[in-house]
Every structure is written in structure tokens, then in C-alpha cells.
Symmetry: C4
């Protein structure tokens, strides 16, 4: 029994063996299949026959994921820790929709739960060479989170004030700016340069103010980019220069490929 557990652990939790890699690839395949099923189901006007086949396919995937979930609980050394871990919860959410759908009907929200299955792909990718890259990106976002937070907060207040101003300018004439929340929605659409055009200023003053808002947005959009770039540059620099200090002149900042101190010529590899 213990040996079977060990073997299954290698297959399910690791990716170094051939079987482990096959398990990962087929897991990704089933996740993608389940997502494609959700997408097809959402199309209006499917024949009852197609719907029957889709329901069958959905149940097959759910059963497979259920078996996998139970196996994971059974195999792992700390079942409780697994169940309440981030991926443990995602794994559970991935199989819940179908079972809940048996009890309740017409619950549209279940579709979102089913689309959360995509997050499971990250579990498999955790085992690849992308981890380092992702962790650098993540570290940069974490390092810049306070600055981005302050920035987004200021943008939210700016958007509220600008939306209110545009509501007052456009409201009686332009049916699009029908209330302040809608005007704020317009301000978000404009300042982020998305610009649907479903609501657009038509008065001369409104177009003037909107033009000014866009040019302000022009300068503002640079700020998050600046934050992320600065932090990312710092992260990348940190990971590409080692922290080794020369034993003779005590200077650091040497490249990873350096064998001798570039300042005093002492060997760094002794």
C-alpha cells in the first residue's frame, strides 16, 4: 500500500519521471477540454442532442477531477494542510459545480466556478523553468504594490471628480451622461484610453474638457508603467549581479561570470 502511495506521489505531485510528465500533460488537456465545454454550452440555440453530449463530457471530466482530488488527499502526508491550501481549495472548486448543479437548477454562477479550473494549470506550471521568471515579476509587483495602490487611489478620486464635472457639463443635452455613476464609468473608460464610444461628449465645452482629461490621462498612464519598470529593473539587476565581496578590496557588484575582482585583480573563486 505504502509503495503504491509513493509511486502515485511521484506521478501526481512530481514531474521528473515520464509518468509524471504524462500525468501533467493529460491534466492540462482535461482542464482545457472542460473550459471548451463551458464555452460551447454558452452558445445560444444548441440542439438537445449536442447538449446531452456536452453534459456527458462535463460529468466525465468532473468524475476524473474528483478521483484526482480524492487521490491527492489520500496520498499526501498532511491531508488537512493540502485541503486548506490555495490549490486544495481550487481543486475542490473545480469539482463542486457539477454536484451543486444536481441540487439546484438555473445557477448561472456555477459557470464562473467552472472557469476557475483554468487556475489549476498554474499547479502544473509550478514545476517548470518559468517559476524563476514568474517570481521576478511577482517580486516586482509586490515591491511596487504600495506605490501602485497610492496611484490607483488618487486615480479613483480624480475619476470621481472628473465624472461629476462631465455630468454637470453634458447632462441636460447628452442622454449618455444620464447620472453621475455612469459619468464616472465614462471617465474610467476615457482615462484608461479604452474609449468604447458608447458614451461620448457632444457639447463644445464637454469635448474641450474631455480633451483635457485625455491629455492628463496621457501623462498619468505613464506612472504605473514607471513604477513596474523601476521595480522590475531593480529585481533583474539583483538577480544578475552576485553579492560576493572581493576578499582583498572588499568591493562587490561582480558579474556571475567573473573569476577575478575587476577592481584589484584578486581571484574570486578561491
Amino acid at each position: 500500500m505504502n509503495k503504491l502511495k509513493k509511486q502515485l506521489h511521484t506521478i501526481i505531485f512530481e514531474a521528473d519521471t515520464k509518468a509524471g510528465r504524462w500525468f501533467d500533460i493529460s491534466l492540462i488537456a482535461f482542464i482545457l477540454i472542460s473550459i471548451i465545454i463551458v464555452m460551447i454550452e454558452s452558445n445560444p440555440g444548441l440542439s438537445p442532442n449536442t447538449q446531452k453530449w456536452l453534459t456527458l463530457a462535463e460529468w466525465s471530466v468532473t468524475l476524473l477531477f474528483s478521483v484526482e482530488y480524492l487521490l491527492r488527499i489520500w496520498i499526501t502526508v498532511h491531508p488537512r494542510r493540502y485541503i486548506f491550501s490555495f490549490f486544495g481549495i481550487i481543486d475542490l472548486l473545480a469539482i463542486l459545480p457539477a454536484f451543486i448543479g444536481l441540487l439546484l437548477t438555473g445557477t448561472q454562477m456555477l459557470i464562473v466556478l467552472r472557469s476557475l479550473r483554468l487556475i489549476r494549470i498554474f499547479r502544473v506550471l509550478k514545476l517548470t523553468r518559468y517559476v524563476k521568471e514568474a517570481s521576478i515579476l511577482w517580486a516586482a509587483l509586490i515591491a511596487g504594490r504600495n506605490k501602485i495602490g497610492v496611484f490607483l487611489f488618487a486615480v479613483l478620486i480624480l475619476i470621481t471628480i472628473l465624472g461629476t464635472v462631465m455630468y454637470i457639463i453634458e447632462n441636460p443635452v447628452n442622454a449618455g451622461f444620464k447620472s453621475i455613476p455612469v459619468s464616472i464609468y465614462w471617465a474610467v473608460v476615457t482615462l484608461t484610453t479604452v474609449g468604447y464610444g458608447d458614451i461620448a461628449p457632444i457639447t463644445t465645452l464637454g469635448q474641450l474638457v474631455a480633451g483635457m482629461i485625455m491629455i492628463i490621462g496621457y501623462a498619468i498612464i505613464a506612472v504605473p508603467t514607471g513604477i513596474v519598470t523601476s521595480e522590475l529593473a531593480k529585481e533583474i539587476r539583483h538577480t544578475s549581479v552576485n553579492t560576493y565581496v572581493c576578499p582583498t578590496c572588499f568591493k562587490d557588484g561582480h558579474d556571475d561570470e567573473a573569476t577575478f575582482c575587476k577592481f584589484c585583480g584578486t581571484s574570486l573563486k578561491d
Copy 2:
């Protein structure tokens, strides 16, 4: 009396005590409530009953803010300095609309004054750990303000010329480009990549020129980002210089690699 003043000062102007923190949180809550009232009021077709309740709520918030304003004047050591400070004026603007609304009717502009209340949130946030982050962002924008100014000025001239060119190309055929100011508005919408689509070129020449404008805008949009990123990187680097103070001249701001004080030449490594 003096003791009460001191206690109130701790509550209203500081955030280190439990009471002070509660005061800040309830202030934010009331600011948000007052903003939500403005938003609901702007919706067309409210029942008279709802409007009555909203007016009542608005007056309650205004009275609370008035009491707070008077308290601040009474408590502070330099009342005049407070009244004419940035936040003193914002605090006054936050309570004015309701009182002006008593005298005048149909004054839509008061809604903007009421939305300015949001700025008051910054007063509370001044006391948090976000100050340092905000000051770095602000320093970067200030350091880059001349460059951004020069850039925006050049963009304004470019937009005027491009708008005029498109007016000449599209005007007789396309009803959207009905005058030069409207064409300049279109140029702003296009160059900032907002792109509503309420005005769009329809002649072949117009689409060709518009395409060229977009590709120019593609290169141009990079400039403000470049400015902010460079300045921000510099600011972040400056904050990464060590905090070591020279033992002789007591100046700081030394690079990590510095061995001697750059101001007086004293050794920093002893």
C-alpha cells in the same frame, strides 16, 4: 478647557490613539456616504420620498462636517493658518454647498464642490505608511514636470496642426469633421489612443493620414512613460543610498560604494 482641547487635538489631528483611529475611520465613512448620496441623487426618476431621505442624509453629513470644521478651528493653535491652508479650504468647500443651496436654487455646480469632499480622504491618509510612497511618486513627477510640460506643449501644437490637416481632408465629405475645433478634438482622441469612434475618417486619404497619425502617436506615447520611468528610477535609487551620516559634516545621501564623504572628505568607513 485646555485639557479638553488637548484631548480633542489627539483625536482629530493625530492617529496614534485608538480614539484617533476611530475618528479617522468614521470620517472616511461619512465622506464616502456623502459621495454615495450625490451619486444616487443624480439618477433620473427618483421618488419624492427617496429625495426627501437623501436631503435629510445630506444635511446630517453637512452638519457633522460643520461641527468638525468649527472644532478644528477652535482646537488648532494657529486658526488663521489652518483656515487658509490647502486642507482648511477643502474642509470649508466640503460644507459650503448645502448652505449655498439654501440661498440659490438649481445651482448644479454645487455637486462638483460636494465631490471635492473626496480629497479630504487624503488628510486621513497623510498619517499612514503610504506617505513615503506617495512622496517618491510626487518627487518623480515634480522632477519630470519641465520635461512633461515641454512634451505636452509640443503635443498640443502637433494636435492643432494634425486636426487642421484632417479638417481639410475630411470636411466636405464627412459630417463628423464639421469644424477645426472638432477636428482637433478628434486628433486628441486619436493620438491618446482613446478612439471613441464618434468621429472617424471615411475618405481613403483621411484613413491613410489617420493611420500615419496613429503610428506617430505610437512612438510619441512612449515619451511621457520614458520621462516618468527615468525620474522614478532616479528617485528610487536616491532612496536606496544609505542613511549613513558623515561624522564630521553631518550630511547624508552617500552612495553605498562611497568610502569618503563627498562633502568634506572624511573617511566614512572608520
Copy 3:
């Protein structure tokens, strides 16, 4: 005569005296007035009376600019060099439209010439503290011009191929993609994230390919920003670190504020 010339030279070509500054400010005012006249004239449905006044105002500005142009030729030491300089040509273009308009009628293109007057503002700004900032921006763009050129060239080829692909996908069904040039225009509008929406894919395959194009554009839009930022960061670094070499240890990279070498402590100001 010579004395008058000298005095006028100080007023017209320099900005250090009070008279010179007044001349510059009134020049900017007249340039802006002439631009506003062009904008008002472009509005459809002006009364004949308004048009008469506008024509009068335009002629007044033109005569003022003509007098200024002739004065400049008379005053300057090298008239020919001035006439064929960049600003000499712009100055001439600024007064030509009205005179050409006398000979020819219905020449819409003259409006563009008149809008070129805005460029004259740069002549005045040349004399201000923005020169250094503008020259840094300009140097960064010049340093990056080959990279930006290579990038824009690759984008143009990509746009042509993507436009052709979308034409084949959408053409029979979607009236918007009526020819390859129009499809290429759509590709420009999409890849630059302007997104008017006057032409949009409606077939499933078209929307899939369009989505892929947008996500490609997402990564591509980063390139010009990256180029400008890198070059700008280099320019800013160059201008903020002096090139002074320490006379004792021969190291450079000292801050402008440094009085002593940060590596060996030698005085830098001797």
C-alpha cells in the same frame, strides 16, 4: 540708424530686457489670436458680419507679422542666412496665406499654412529655461531613432500581413473590411489600441484572430516605450553626473554636488 537697429535687435531677437519680454509675450498673443480666428472661421453657418470682422482681424495679424518679418530681415546681420533658416521659412509661411488668398480663391490648403504659425511659438520659447529639458528629450529621440525606425518598419510589414489575413477572413461577410487597404487601416487602428469600432470583426474566426492581434500588440506597444525610456535614462544620467576625474585616483562618476572624491577623499574643487 545703426543705433536703432541695435535697439530693435535687442527687442526682437533677445528676451533679457523688459521690452524684449513684452515683444515675446505680444508675439505669442498674436499667434494665438490668429489660430483662434482660423478655428472660428471653420465653423459652418457664420453670419456675413462675423466673417467680415474675422477677415479684418486676419489681415491685421498678417500685416503685423509682415512688418515683423521685414524688420527681422532688415535688422539681422546675415539676411540671407535668416531667410533660409528654419524659422525664417516658418515666418514667411506665416504671412503667405493671406496674400495667396488674394490671387487664388477656395484654396483650403492655406488653412494648414496658417496653422503652422503655431510653430513660431517655439522661437520665443527657445529663449527660456525649457531648452535644456527639450534638448534632453530630443537627444533621447535622436539616439533612439534607428531603433524606433527599425521597429516602425517591422510594425508596418506586420500590419500589412495582418490586414490581408483579416480581409480574407472577414471580407465576404463583413461590409467593413471592403478592401485590403481598409483592412490595413483597421489593423493600424487595432494594433495602436486606438480602436474606433467603425470597422470591427463579426465572424468567430475574425474575432479570434483579432483577439490574438491585440494580445500581440500588447507586447509590441512596449517596445517603443522601452527604447525611449532606455535612451532617456542614459541621457539623464549623462547630464546629472559630471565627467570630472579625481586627480589622485583617476576615478570619475562624481555627483555635481560632490566636493571631495568619494573613492579616495581628495578635494575635487582645487
Copy 4:
């Protein structure tokens, strides 16, 4: 025969002689002509006469390209290596469409093949001074490809989940969000800030969620820019290391501040 071959090699494969440069320029001209033919042909409602001339022009260009292709095979020392090289395949694809069009009719896909001719321009540009710039850009993209890949992957999953959420919110009310794939298409259009406006949220909740998606996209769009900028800055810095070669180990790539070779410790300043 061998001498003729050598002479042709200089003309076709090199660009240093006058004849070689003329060959390159006329090649670019013919490529552009062939692209313009494709564009004109795509316009609906051409007269039969025009179509006849266009077919003739297309065949002339195809024959010229065929002769050039055969010459290249004949001249080159390793014909097989040329045929299966990237540009060999592009050269073949450039002449195939016309010949395939003889056998099959109504094959629209051939137009794409014909637009691929544009890629041939890169062959000529390979010989210019833009190579270095392009290789820096390319190196930066290659260095950042894993980070960009991780980022795009996360964006794809985010888009799928957001599209599903918006489908559930908007679907019964808004005809635009008719299925999950279409909603995902909307999420791509929104997150990349293209914003056509062909599909736009109309419910209050939908507009709220859409606004949040846009503000998220605001922060997210900064990431690819940050990646490219950081990598590009590193590439540019690498090319700014001096070209000094160590006299002992003959390795280069030393920093400007280096006094000793970082590979073998030899002094670089003697």
C-alpha cells in the same frame, strides 16, 4: 562561366558595389509594386480592363522573381542550404501564388502568400547599418521572452475568467454578450485598451465590473513595458561596455570602470 557567377554573386548577394545597390533598390521597388497590385485588386468594382492590366503586372513581377530565384540557386555555393533557409522559403512563397492560381481558382488564401513578399525586404535591409539596432531589440525580446510568456499566459487565464463573469452579468439583458467566447473577445478588447465599443456593458453591475477590469488593465499593461524596458536597458548597457580585449586571455566585455580582467586577473590599464 565561373567569372559570370562571381559577378552575379556580387550583385545579388552583396551590396557594396554600385550594381549591387541598384539591384537591392530595384528589388525593393518590385516588392512594393507587387504589394500595391494586391491592394488595388482587392477593391470591389474594378473594370475588366484594369483587372487585365493588373494580372499582366502581377505576372511580370512573378516572372522577375522566378528568374531571381533560379539565379540565386544557380549562383550560390550550397544550393540546398539556400533553398531550405528562411529566406529561401520566403523567396519560393513569393513566386508560388501565381503558379498555383493557374491550377486552382478562387483561392483567396494566395493573397496572404503574396503579402508575405514584404518579408523579402528584410533580406535587403540585412545588409545595412540597421542590423545592430535590430539585433539589440531582438536580443531584448529574446531575453524577456520567458517573462512575457508567463505574463501573457496569466493574462489569458484572467481574460477567460473575466469574460465568463461578464457573460453571467450581462447575458440576459445585453445582446452583445451572447456567448462566453464573445465575452472573452470583449475582455481582450477591453484589457488591451483597444475598446471598439461594438460590445459594451449596459447594466449598472456590468459597468462597475468593467470599470474595475479597466483599472486592473491599467496596472497590468505596465508589465510588458516594464519587461521590455528592463531587458532593453540591460542590452544597451552591455553594448556600452568597452571593446577592450584582455591582452592575456583575449576576452572582452569589460566594464568601463574595470581595472583588471575579470576572467584572468591581468591588469587592463597597462
